[in-house]
Symmetry: C2
């Protein structure tokens, strides 16, 4: 019983996060994804989908089939304790992953720049598991992420 | 019994379709969405989300809350027999709706221009309910839609 409790505590200290950002929708926010990744790692989280923040991702995925990419991403999502999505850049994959995470009943944090035109499927979503926040600057972005991880 | 059978036949003749296309992700393919809408109506389908093909949509939605838009779209999706999405323009909402339709276990047809960079969540999706087709021209687009509706 003690061992189980220790495992639970250890798991809580290092929550597994699925980081979701645009890939084929456009990589213009790659530096933000990298900042999110580093903030999460510093906050003690484990980012399972670290490849989203990888500048060499396109090269790696060129060697993979579409089915392999889908299978990798959905396999990681199933193992995740929460999903954090950057939703400023419209992305069909990000929308799909947000929905899958809610079906899986894990917390979802959606972050966007204040001037972004974010989908109503995100902004108007009544699911209590989803939280949507605008970040005016990088300091604010980091703080929102740290607070979210601490609450998991 | 005869009445029930007639109702079933009538329903099959007029399948309810959720047409999904980019709204806040960009309206550059509005004319394609309009063509899809008209093709569906001519094929005997009922397009529940006809607003996606409405050039005045932004004005209408400006009067609605985010929650009202979400609720309208998900309410229509629940009543739909199939979803047809145009996935050329990356859209978080379209990705979300594709996932919801698959969770609801209805057929999903995703259409895109041959040169589009389509998400692996669509192209690599192993769900037997999803079909993804590139259309080289409008004639081909119309034929794919008609064939899909006839098979419902």
């Amino acid at each position: 019983m003690e061992v189980v409790e220790k495992m639970i505590v250890s798991e809580q200290r290092s929550p597994k996060i699925f980081l979701s950002g645009s890939i084929r929708g456009g990589r213009q926010l790659l530096e933000i994804y990298r900042l999110m990744y580093h903030t999460l790692e510093k906050a003690g989280a484990e980012v399972l989908s670290w490849h989203v923040a990888d500048s060499e991702l396109e090269k790696v995925e060129m060697e993979m089939t579409e089915e392999e990419i889908y299978s990798r991403d959905m396999g990681l999502l199933v193992k995740s304790d929460a999903l954090i999505a950057e939703v400023t850049v419209p992305s069909t994959g990000v929308g799909y992953e947000i929905c899958r995470a809610l079906v899986q009943e894990i917390p979802v944090l959606c972050l966007h720049k204040p001037d972004a035109s974010v989908s109503a499927m995100v902004l108007g979503n009544p699911d209590p598991l989803i939280e949507v926040r605008a970040y005016p600057n990088e300091t604010s972005l980091k703080q929102i992420i740290i607070d979210f991880v601490m609450d998991l």
